[in-house]
């Protein structure tokens, strides 16, 4: 039945968009002609009403003035380079060249001897030429030659490499990805100087033609995962990709869950670490967010800094993070459950002080908690959206009004304010903004369950959550993988971060192809006799 509906809907709304239709009129698989004027007429028709496209025609000082035309987009190319290296060379410098009148392969001769650029592509097809122009290359047509020359002259205004906004560290590199794919390649390549680091690029988006790149370390990565990523990317059929979030939603394993099964990160060092552990990275042009797959839930709780700090510090932070994870998810539901159903569970003095605080509050704990949590989420969202100066004002007003005035007006109890504040701070302490997002959402149903069934409701909710988490997979890897299915070997990097010299192997799920990561017995052993003097006697 549904299949039938699907067909009808498809007929009515989804028009088959093959490339030429989606791109616009005037583009076909026409080949480059030897007649320069014909080519230019065609291109001018294609780029009709595109004021940023520049057409420049001139004569080269060779072969008695060959007519040459170049096409590029103003702002996407390095004009200085074009003037100096192309136009000037062709108009003046080639005159000194002792050119013989008869050249058997003019296109090859031009690209080998005349056009002084590092990257030159020869193109037969006008459609390719158009695409080259659109991606910032300068396309050169020569009268009498049935090839177009695409010169890599891309140079546009771009943001410098700055510190990433989402994942800050105290110790560690401060570089973040930028919107430029080439820069992002460089940032990763500078960290992994190996020919095993591969990047495969494809264009996704019928209109935007966004470059999307799959990166992995050959020999470490599981090839099946790479194939799967490639397949899923190739299946995408959409008009435009503006951010890696578009792609994320197309390649997820579980599209209906609140948990991210693809990790988005701005940190090149994190990507490099992931590649070394056998993950696959997906870079998308025009966004600083790279995608790492497969990802597990525990990985969302790990920050790259965990690996730069000494291991006792890192382990301590990990422990704190598990505490905050639980607080962020469970503090309000537990508060509701205990104050509503299980007052007897509190030690008597605590119970008395909470009861005293709640005295005079007109709402049940659930309504109180919902009120506060919603207010907090609103404040948080306002803080993100508003201009920075105003955002601060909002947060001050929010803190004063919500925190102080609401309590003194007797609308909420001070205990509730503490709980909400604790929850908020805890959820900020989680390293992955996107992982913390799912907890933010799940808190609300858990609160409702706590209000309906008390602790049992919370338990049932957690069990449901656990079932859900256990059933998730990210590119074939179970979502809570080092925990269940338990891999004792991989627990080294779970609750604790063991010392580097003791982590011999890559994670079993992604790096089993080349499990050994380092040599054994690398624990530092200082020599008995101190080299720095001081006999000790």
């Amino acid at each position: 039945m549904f299949k039938k509906w699907k067909k009808i809907i498809k007929k009515a709304f989804v028009k088959p968009h093959n490339e030429s239709q989606a791109i616009g009129r005037g583009e076909s698989k026409e080949t480059v002609s030897t007649d320069l004027d014909k080519n230019m007429r065609h291109l001018k028709a294609v780029f009709d009403r595109c004021t940023d496209i520049i057409f420049r025609e001139f004569e080269a000082a060779i072969g008695g003035g060959v007519k040459i035309a170049m096409v590029y987009i103003d702002g996407l190319v390095n004009k200085e380079m074009l003037t100096e290296d192309l136009v000037k060379t062709l108009m003046y410098d080639v005159a000194s060249l002792n050119s013989s009148a008869s050249v058997s392969d003019p296109a090859g001769y031009l690209s080998r001897r005349i056009i002084a650029f590092t990257e030159v592509k020869l193109q037969d097809n006008l459609l390719d030429a158009v695409n080259s122009v659109l991606s910032g290359e300068t396309v050169l047509f020569v009268d009498g030659v049935s090839k177009a020359f695409a010169l890599s002259t891309q140079d546009w205004v771009q943001r410098a490499v700055t510190e990433p906004a989402t994942e800050n560290v105290v110790r560690g590199p401060r570089e973040g990805f930028t919107e430029n794919l080439q820069t992002n390649y460089t940032l990763i390549r500078r960290r992994i100087k190996s020919s095993r680091l591969k990047f495969e690029t494809m264009k996704i988006g019928a209109i935007t033609k966004t470059a999307v790149s799959i990166g992995y370390l050959e020999g470490i990565v599981n090839n099946k995962i790479v194939d799967e990523v490639r397949n899923r990317l190739q299946r995408i059929d959409i008009d435009g990709i503006l951010e890696s979030g578009y792609i994320e939603e197309y390649i997820e394993d579980a599209p209906m869950t609140v948990f991210p099964t693809v990790q988005a990160t701005e940190r090149p060092d994190k990507v490099a670490g992931g590649l070394l552990e056998g993950q696959v990275v997906i870079l998308v042009d025009t966004t600083p967010f790279a995608l790492l797959v497969p990802v597990t839930f525990p990985q969302l709780l790990q920050a790259s800094e965990d690996y730069y700090l000494r291991w006792p510090f890192a382990s301590f932070i990990r422990f704190i993070r598990f505490v905050t994870l639980n607080i962020a998810l469970l503090a309000p539901p537990l508060y509701i459950a205990i104050t509503t159903y299980h007052q007897e569970m509190l030690p008597t003095p605590l119970l008395i002080s909470i009861a005293a605080a709640r005295e005079g509050v007109p709402f049940p704990a659930f309504v109180e908690a919902m009120l506060m949590e919603t207010t907090f989420e609103v404040l948080r969202e306002a803080g993100v959206r508003l201009p920075k100066a105003v955002g601060q004002a909002v947060s001050i007003v929010g803190a004063l009004v919500i925190g102080d005035a609401a309590v003194s007006a007797g609308l909420v109890s001070p205990a509730m304010v503490i709980i909400v504040a604790l929850t908020a701070i805890s959820s900020f302490s989680l390293p992955s903004y996107f992982g913390a997002f799912s907890l933010r959402i799940l808190r609300f149903p858990l609160m409702a369950l706590a209000a309906a069934l008390g602790l049992f409701g919370v338990m049932a909710g957690l069990l449901a959550l656990l079932i859900h988490l256990c059933s998730l997979r990210s590119f074939g890897v179970p979502y809570i993988s080092p925990l269940a299915p338990t891999s004792w070997r991989d627990l080294k990097d779970m609750f604790f971060r063991m010392p580097w010299w003791s982590m011999f192997t890559r994670p079993r799920m992604t790096g089993s192809k080349e499990p050994a990561r380092q040599d054994y017995m690398q624990k530092p052993r200082p020599p008995r006799r101190r080299p720095g003097g001081g006999s000790g006697k």
Partner: protein, 324 residues
């Protein structure tokens, strides 16, 4: 009470005996032996048994929730919530179930051990005595009761083929029974040490009473909440396994391609049974008396294994006979 150790060893021997010659499900094994009809009968017994036990577990669970934590809440609320969750997990399949169990298992065991340790400072050594005041017969009686509780182990007959081949099939079952038996002995020891024999016998839930008494450094007290977590999680897993095993045997009975299809009906039957079977908790406890429950459990715990052993011996001999 201390005779639980005996019960554990009983079950240990049984599990070892039963685990010795089985690589497939009990049903597939019997069919291979050429006993198709009796395989169907055994499947029927397994279905009835697992659905029945699931419903009893549901009821038992809900009774405790209502009597100890939620006075006035209808039983059916807890039963239905639990059953729906169990259905969902069983539907997800044995792999997800195993992962959930793996995640929950350390919590359960750790929780029990922690609670026991916390209760140790309540202990009065004098509570242990008298040890064998009324002769051996109450010990045997208690042992049989607890032995019967290990009947659940028999459903592993159905689950064994789903195990990863790396698991040592013939040792994990007896070992796990032994471990749980030891944990039980430890717990009962703590109960007797903590609140004394007389109170323990009078209370319906002696362990809960014990936990209620726990008070450490004037602050950690009334930790029944932890008990609640353990209780919910462990019962939940038990119900899921019963449902799953029930669906496998039903699937075999009717030769279904996908045994998950019967999960929902089985769950609904279990929910209904759990409400209908007993009028009150006294009846349920009555059912657990050794005269009733041990006899009932021995059908699956002793009867079927013995039958299969005999069948296997007989068939093997005849097979050898025809080969010669």
């Amino acid at each position: 009470m201390l005779a639980t150790a005996m019960g554990a060893i009983n079950a240990f021997l049984l599990a070892k005996l039963a685990g010795l010659f089985r690589g497939r499900t009990v049903l597939g094994f019997m069919e291979d032996l050429g006993a198709g009809v009796s395989a169907k009968v055994v499947a029927l017994i397994f279905t009835v048994f697992s659905v029945h036990l699931a419903s009893i577990t549901l009821r038992d669970f809900a009774e405790l929730m209502v009597t100890s934590f939620y006075e006035g809440t209808p039983l059916i609320v807890f039963i239905v919530v639990m059953a729906v969750l169990a259905y969902w997990l069983a539907y997800m399949g044995i792999e997800v179930t195993a992962r959930v169990a793996q995640f929950v298992f350390p919590l359960i065991i750790g929780g029990i051990v922690l609670l026991n340790l916390a209760s140790l400072n309540l202990g009065e050594p004098g509570n242990i005595f008298p040890i064998v005041a009324k002769g051996v017969s109450p010990i045997v009686r208690g042992g049989v009761t607890h032995w019967a509780f290990f009947a659940d182990v028999a459903i592993w007959f159905l689950l064994i083929p789903h195990l990863n081949s790396s698991v040592k099939k013939y040792t994990f079952l007896p070992l796990s029974v032994l471990a749980s038996g030891l944990l039980l002995v430890f717990t009962i020891f703590c109960i007797i040490l903590g609140i004394g024999n007389r109170i323990a016998v009078m209370r319906i839930y002696p362990y809960l009473t014990l936990i209620g008494e726990i008070s450490l450094v004037e602050f950690i007290e009334r930790v029944e909440g932890f008990f609640l977590i353990i209780w919910v999680a462990s019962n939940f897993l038990k119900i899921v396994l019963f449902l799953y095993a029930g669906s496998i045997s039903t699937g075999y009975l009717f030769r279904l391609g996908d045994h998950r299809a019967v999960l929902l009906p089985l769950m609904i039957i279990a929910v209904n049974l759990s409400v209908l079977l007993f009028d009150n908790y006294q009846q349920l406890r009555n059912f657990f008396r050794p005269e009733v429950y041990a006899v009932y459990a021995s059908i699956i715990q002793l009867g079927i294994p013995v039958y299969i052993t005999v069948l296997w011996l007989f068939r093997r001999r005849s097979a050898v006979g025809t080969a010669n």
